[in-house]
Point group: C2
Chain length 435, copies 2
């Protein structure tokens, strides 16, 4: 079992002594229940960066990666409410707002990614992307990072080491260390490229070939590795020059979160062959997508008929269009850059004086904080991470963990976070760490 | 290429001479474009059983299988609009309406299916169901019907012969003839059981074993085979008594469509191990699910961590709850039975006097009409089917085709269809056939 899986399990509700609403949930979802916290929270409403619980407490949402322009954003609510009252159908018909959205999305993407297939989830988008890469290249092999998570379908789970509880990856998937791994030394760029090339060589040896490097350019579940921007480019070039594809999984870093660019791959100067996207795309309305070159998509469609019943419905398009407009009109990418820099600097200051913080890394409003033991070894400390997560919950802040050791706080508030809210988080984290 | 795929392609827009909105769509979706009709329709709104086009024409929707309680139903619109303005989050928190929905859904399901995992699409639900069946049985083999369609993920596409354009099914999947196949003779029940047992023997020979019989109990894409109710039970019992699971794919027959029962499997007296559902569940809001026994779900979750970001969000639950309430308060299952019987009788009368109709079959508001050549052979006639589909479109009626030969009209209006609307369809179909 991976460490990140252990920590998730450690902080998950174990079901003992459940009563009331929590017992009902466990009865309904059974083993697939994923309730967060040792004492789960019942939520009743949410607005901006805040969620309100049934017991009257309110929580600042630093766990957020879906309602990215703010919970219950009125522009998204209005767009969805208007469109669902008017027309909700599938892509067998032309509906103007669907193409308005696709045009708006494509205006944000590299020119060569002319086709966008809308799906319901990032999982469906990555499932399709892997098949497109295999159809284009004729190869089977997929390279991912060692604690990567790319979704929940059968195919994508095979390429998501962090979802594995038992067993091992199939022969067609090789997981290489994430950029933070000690083996890469100081030159992450050269190290990551060398690891990618070694994986390509191994896939060749196995007779698989390399269909794609599938990478989340902010390495969310690996523990957030952002810098130096550009370190991903040599590995991507190695794959592409050997005929493989680069699939940039923008489910997490996309839509302005990193502040520096609208997409995570743009920070690294990549030219991805396929871009997948999801979570923040509809601010909670289920919508996701895969952008690809027309000839690549055609290579897949020659073999398999693809239709997605809900994918590209006009209500999803209305939600997606509203999200793009809000990011623009409220300058949320710039806000992510500014408030993110403020947060990063505060976290670095805290790290400088606290022996329990081993490292702080990030871009925009996506920051990883490595927590460690208090002794001289300063080893990753997942138990302590759970303690801090629960202390923050007591202080009214929702946050989660990630990383190879499950000892990285995932600092990921909505893009509308204010400097004041960031300061509130810093105070609470300081209290939790220094207590 | 399967016949059903051929007919879909035959009636799909081929892209030649596209201008305006249609050209824009083709530019956006590329090879994944699935526009319906040789001259695609641009839709602007929809209400009840009707869709309104940009050119002012209105169409009676007989293609419908998603907005099943009626397009833009005000109760669903209100429920979604209210919930999305209040709270939209994931299942890591307890939210009352999510469990209200799960409780309401479970009240409709057999008692042993205590757990329901909500997903975004029927594809995701079937993808999970196949993996649960494999985890429970330790076997790999899946038995489906020869023109089945169960969804679009990599794994589910492998079990969807109708999505294959080239190549063949993997060794782990065996497709048996649908109930209408001549080889079954008069006793469909015994024939289908024998075919299932032969597939199990072949899967054993291949070293795969049988994980599940995955079946849509109305055989939607096979061409709609409803009667005699109960014919599926012996095959299901054969699989279950050998330790395999029965997955009832209720994406199409579920939620009252067959009139006689809320679920298609109930018409056949089956006791499925897993039930998957989707399309009509949220009347167009992306929501789907898999119901299973707690011990079966646990067997899967021991191996793999499963979390679905959008699955089980409170807005989807609000949509789903509103759909269940509307089916109840508007007595839509009874309406499907009554108007469906009226429609079936009208179609049978037309068939009796028309040499172009070879057979009419169905239950409730899901009826298949086999179209054939006018000669003595009365062979399945996909070209003629396309002609009829386009004649109906000219008459203001939207309808599609299915079946092994692509020569079965898929009569599938919303559950709120009135007898008057059914009569309008019968008149237009009569004109189209007798012209």
């Amino acid at each position: 079992m991976s460490k990140v899986r252990q920590i998730l399990d450690m902080n998950a509700f174990d079901g003992a002594g459940a009563t009331g609403a929590v017992a009902r949930r466990l009865g309904n979802l059974g083993a697939a229940s994923v309730l967060f916290y040792r004492e789960p929270i019942e939520m009743v409403s949410a607005s901006g960066a805040w969620m309100m619980a049934k017991d009257g407490r309110r929580y600042l949402d630093f766990y957020n990666n879906v309602p990215s322009v703010g919970h219950s954003h009125p522009k998204v609510v209005e767009a969805v409410s208007r469109q669902i009252a008017t027309l909700n159908t599938n892509t067998r018909y032309v509906v103007g707002i669907v193409d308005d959205y696709l045009d708006a999305l494509k205006a944000r993407l590299p020119d060569h990614l002319e086709n966008v297939v809308l799906t319901c989830s990032g999982s469906e988008a990555n499932d399709l992307a892997i098949r497109v890469a295999r159809a284009v290249t004729g190869a089977r092999g997929i390279i991912v990072t060692e604690t990567a998570y790319h979704g929940n379908t059968a195919l994508v789970t095979e390429a998501s080491p962090s979802a594995l509880k038992r067993g091992r990856l199939p022969d067609s998937v090789i997981a290489i260390p994430a950029p933070g791994h000690a083996s890469y030394g100081e030159d992450i760029s050269a190290g990551f490229r060398a690891a990618t090339e070694a994986a390509m060589a191994e896939l060749a040896r196995r007779g698989m070939g390399t269909a794609a490097l599938l990478v989340d350019s902010i390495f969310s579940s690996d523990g957030i590795f952002a810098d130096p921007a550009g370190f991903l480019a040599p590995a991507a070039e190695a794959v592409q020059s050997a005929g493989g594809l680069v699939i940039s999984d923008e489910v997490q870093p996309g839509f302005g979160r990193t502040g520096e660019a609208f997409w995570g791959f743009a920070r690294h100067g990549l030219c991805p062959d396929i871009v997948t996207m999801g979570k923040p795309m509809g601010n909670g309305f289920p919508v996701a997508g895969m952008a690809a070159r027309p000839d690549h998509l055609a290579a897949f469609c020659r073999e398999t008929g693809y239709f997605n019943t809900f994918g590209g419905n006009p209500v999803a398009a209305a939600a997606g269009l509203a999200v793009l407009e809000v990011i623009e009109t409220e300058a949320l990418q710039a806000n992510a850059a500014q408030v993110g820099a403020h947060l990063l600097s505060g976290l670095k200051a805290l790290s400088a004086r606290s022996p329990r913080i081993a490292d702080v890394r990030g871009a925009g409003l996506f920051i990883g904080v490595d927590l460690c033991t208090a002794d001289a070894e300063a080893a990753p400390d997942p138990e302590y991470t759970v303690t801090v997560i629960n202390a923050l919950r007591e202080a009214g802040i929702l946050i989660g963990a990630a990383g190879r050791f499950g000892a990285t706080l995932k600092v990921r508030p909505p893009l509308c976070l204010t400097a004041g809210e960031a300061d509130g988080f810093l105070r609470s984290l300081t209290d939790a760490i220094e207590d």
